[in-house]
Symmetry: C2
Subunit: 621 residues, 2 copies
């Protein structure tokens, strides 16, 4: 292990990265308190995590390792890449242990680690598919076989476990495998690269964890192999493309490689300005689970794989850490509250693979519109778990003489700033209310900047300290409060949360003439359950909809619903024609946060609501 | 052969069908004269047909038969169903021979027939894939292997050849195969059915051709197997679903089976009111080449396979023959002029597999937006050829004391009505002009009805006889002129052809707030070639667009273009936001008939144009 090993680093450890504007904090330094995210994390941890391990057992994923480690006589089961599903579960468990001690979970994880470790070969290679009579197929089809991808997830799980416990039993396995891979691949050795990027970011993180430059070089080699620095647009398989960007960002943070950065900026623009959903989802096509052309963003047939939203969040976070630009963190927040969170049920144990923005409730099957506990390709459930259990790591950041508040959630941070121990306590009912109260308590009076992200949507936001007059907080900026802080200094931020009617670029054809309702970081949708007297997909919203938000304790675990004036337009008699103005019937409609849809049985759902003014403009002669 | 064999029947032979309101005419009774369709049929016949046989030779499709018939030592090539590609080419050649003698083509066809006939087994079975060491796989996977589908195409080719030449050399092969199949499958014998319907309609037509009821019963058996009478909505693979409907319609025409008709009507409503493009294309999804949910009609990602448009046209024709309802014939016309015809280049030898309604011009590959001479799955090119060479058969129909004019095209029909020989001569520059002049010449004065289809779009249409005052012809009706006709009686029909701005049902989300330009039977599109100074997909049309049609001899082989006032709206800076009103720049835009797009190199294209009024209605606060 290297000198700079730091066993309490965060989601990533960019403490020594030359290109890091914001430093991730150790998850263990964050105490998360009751609020929005605990309501989502607790069911996931209590119910989702154990049930998912149960499914991994039932589907033979753990036995695949025991076949080798214990000689258990069972057939190898599941897709070629299913080792990674167990690794992601392990990473989820390890992240959970970073913010909440749990002896049972710890022991369970150790037991699984034994199963995994025992399946490693003499040479360090570890993959349950390419063993026994398939051992000779090793590295035979890198494009298809996910071998390096699985290795990447093993490494990430090992690092999370090490950061959770300080134990190296899994990290040692990962290092042996990484060393083996580094000895096989690289310039002057074997060529080729994995069809599914993932190992890049794992290798950078292993470099950060161990200090061994071989791993950083290997990441650079992999990025070279996929000609990452030549990429300018997001193409093909969305998860693969975005994981490559994560690896590229990590590599840039360590090396400052100019070509890599040029690619990253161009790719980000292409994704954020042309190829992402209003929910932060990416990858619109079923065919190839892929990005479409610019503005190709179908709603009913959105693919928007949960894993792709996760990949996008990971990428956004990395871009934010590098730059400190609030727009990246806005995207991270948007994904977490919408495109990502829709991927898991309120109960924490049922998942979406695809995340449509419109539904008849009738699309069934593995890629349908019903939540499932398990998928034959179960990448999303395990990815959801590792992401939701890492949420505390996204709330804060540090800089030179800076504390960053990136996300708003009741919590407590303990950190050392300019040599002084500082405690930040955050109280908020965000995202239902825009008020955030901060209690800043340095051990002794200390000067530093408190950097608060003011989201771009937060019009008419203000801040004040210790009861001072409110002053403007500019949307889409970092509010920097630079002063000498003393024990129990108070800062209040009041983020404006008007209900917004978002419009899309007119080239996003399925959204043309429509509006999406949003409030704060939340995108809303209409669901049939709340609007029983109409078909929600026949509703029309007016620009003068008089929308009103109301918190309802009894709805969907407690959410703010939004009611508004809507219309049901008469249906034209034919599919195509030259219609006159429609007949309109007034109704009051109710919208719920998008993340909470499909938790009350099969239902139809709609995010983009046709605007009355567009309907009338288009219809009348 | 049965008693009622009629070697000059048309596309179908419903002369003896109990449920036939309109009877198909023999193609040989129609002399097609220079006009719109000859401009499309001639290049297809002269260039497309021989080139396609060349490709079938080059790709081993004919050799597949010679392997067996001549023992030629070549590997079997192409997909499992590629026998059907040759059969469709043969049917195309046979249809062509029905309206135009061509000794070379005749000899070529006979030579191919020899190759095919020689590959038939002793028992009558004929399939080049399931021969030799694969013979034991026969009927092993009916769902996947297209065996009965191929048989259906053989039968259809044989009937067309028989109707063209009176020769039975291919028909005998088809009958032997059909008898074999009938001996293998059926109640009390082997169960199962083909994954790809097609044999149903072939069997009905073979019954019509030979009078042998076994074939009709077999069609009924096949329809029972797929529970056709229980179907109510169009689901799954579009070509398969629509071919099943063709078979169902043919079966109903012969049997009057009530359950079959109930299914047909419900399926037609589902297709026409919820699941068809404005071009008559069907099957919107790439995944499974399938129908989507109701109103799921993406434009850029339209699949709308050319074969599906053909299947839809065949179905529409059959529904029209059964009922005489003009709406079915309107759909037939719509498909032929738009969704079908876009599937072949003006040169007659390059094809589309998918038919988008929007294109960046950048989608390449087998399912992309560039025309190709050949596809690895080459179902569409051969299907295009057999359809375009059968066009003369769609122009006229007969009834009891009726002559029907179904399509408008310069041509001459010779028929016997109530025992009298009647010649109808049709002169028209349709679809560029709405005027149709008919010269009716019975051998001797005879009373009958001349039934003219007045399309639903033909507002302000009139008709007159021998210079009489024009009288109204109601759109969407059959104009019945019931009188005693004498030598060289004249009828003029003036179909109103205002330029229309079609709107879609608001649930068709990609068309919401947009208009499609149409004139007469033609749907128009914007193509970048004609609008070089703008990106056509950024154009906006106003309801007050002052559109004007102009015939241009020099454009695309002679078409009416439509110019109109358009706007380029300023692009919002972001993908999502709360935009104010857009800045608008005025331009004059030019649209061309949709069928003619993609004939001048790679280009962007748009059918559904956003409406200015919708943009403004949606944008302003």
């Amino acid at each position: 292990m290297g000198e700079n090993m730091e066993c309490h680093a965060g989601i990533v450890d960019n403490a020594s990265s030359p290109r890091a504007r914001v430093l991730a904090v150790p998850i263990s330094a964050v105490e998360i308190r009751p609020g929005f995210w605990t309501n989502r994390m607790d069911p996931a941890r209590r119910k989702g995590l154990p049930r998912l391990l149960g499914h991994l057992e039932d589907h033979g994923v753990v036995d695949n390792f025991r076949r080798i480690s214990q000689g258990k006589e069972v057939p190898r089961k599941g897709p070629v890449f299913t080792d990674s599903d167990l690794y992601k579960w392990m990473e989820a468990a390890a992240f959970s242990l970073q913010w909440r001690a749990d002896d049972n979970l710890d022991q369970l994880l150790e037991s699984v680690i034994d199963d995994v470790a025992g399946a490693q070969g003499e040479d360090g290679y570890l993959n349950t598919y390419f063993s026994g009579d398939k051992a000779n197929l090793r590295f035979g089809n890198l494009e298809r076989d996910h071998e390096l991808y699985c290795a990447g997830h093993l490494i990430q799980a090992a690092i999370a476990h090490y950061r959770a416990t300080g134990r190296t039993n899994l990290l040692d396995v990962a290092v042996r495998f990484a060393d083996y891979l580094a000895s096989v691949f690289g310039e002057g050795r074997r060529g080729g690269f994995c069809g599914h990027p993932e190992l890049e970011m794992a290798m950078v993180e292993l470099y950060r964890t161990t200090g061994k430059e071989t791993y950083l070089d290997f990441a650079g080699y992999l990025l070279d192999q996929i000609k990452f620095h030549e990429r300018r647009t997001m193409e093909g398989h969305a998860v693969r493309a975005a994981y490559a960007c994560c690896g590229g960002a990590d590599y840039f943070a360590e090396t400052g490689n100019g070509g890599t950065w040029e690619a990253l900026v161009s790719l980000w623009t292409d994704m954020s300005a042309r190829k992402s959903y209003v929910t932060g989802g990416i990858g619109s096509r079923y065919v190839g689970e892929a990005f479409g052309e610019p503005y190709e963003l179908p709603n009913l047939r959105a693919y928007a794989e949960t894993c792709a939203a996760i990949a996008n969040a990971m990428w956004a976070w990395r871009m934010f850490l590098i730059t400190g630009e609030p727009s990246y963190c806005d995207m991270l927040e948007n994904i977490l509250y919408n495109g990502f969170l829709a991927g898991v049920s309120l109960s924490g144990d049922r998942y979406f693979y695809v995340n449509p923005l419109e539904s008849s409730g009738e699309a069934t099957g593995e890629r349908g519109h019903r939540r499932r506990e398990w998928y034959d390709c179960t990448c999303c459930p395990t990815n959801v778990q590792r992401t939701i259990s890492s949420i505390p790591g996204y709330i804060y950041g540090l800089g030179k003489g800076e504390v960053w508040i990136c996300l708003y959630q009741a919590s407590r941070l303990e950190a050392e700033i300019s040599g002084t121990r500082v405690i930040i306590e955050q109280e908020t009912e965000y995202p239902w209310k825009g008020r955030v109260d901060l209690l800043v308590s340095p051990e002794k009076p200390t000067s530093f900047q408190l950097c608060l992200r003011v989201p771009a949507w937060a019009r008419d936001s203000t801040w004040s300290t210790d009861g001072s007059d409110p002053r403007e907080a500019r949307p889409g900026s970092i509010l920097r409060l630079d002063r000498e802080w003393r024990q129990e200094d108070k800062v209040s931020l009041e983020l404006g949360m008007p209900i917004r009617l978002i419009r899309a670029h007119p080239r996003a054809r399925e959204d043309f003439g429509c509006a999406a309702i949003a409030r704060g970081p939340l995108v809303y949708c209409l669901e049939s359950v709340d609007n029983p007297d109409v078909e929600v997909r026949d509703l029309v919203i007016s620009r003068e909809a008089r929308p009103a938000a109301e918190f309802r304790e009894d709805t969907l675990g407690g959410v703010s619903t939004i009611s508004f004036d809507a219309f049901v337009a008469s249906s034209p008699g034919t599919l195509y024609g030259e219609p006159g103005g429609p007949d309109l019937k007034s109704v009051r409609a109710t919208a719920i946060p998008y993340y909470a849809w499909a938790n009350r049985g099969g239902s139809s759902m709609l995010v983009w609501i046709p605007l009355l003014e567009a309907l009338e403009g288009a219809s009348r002669r």
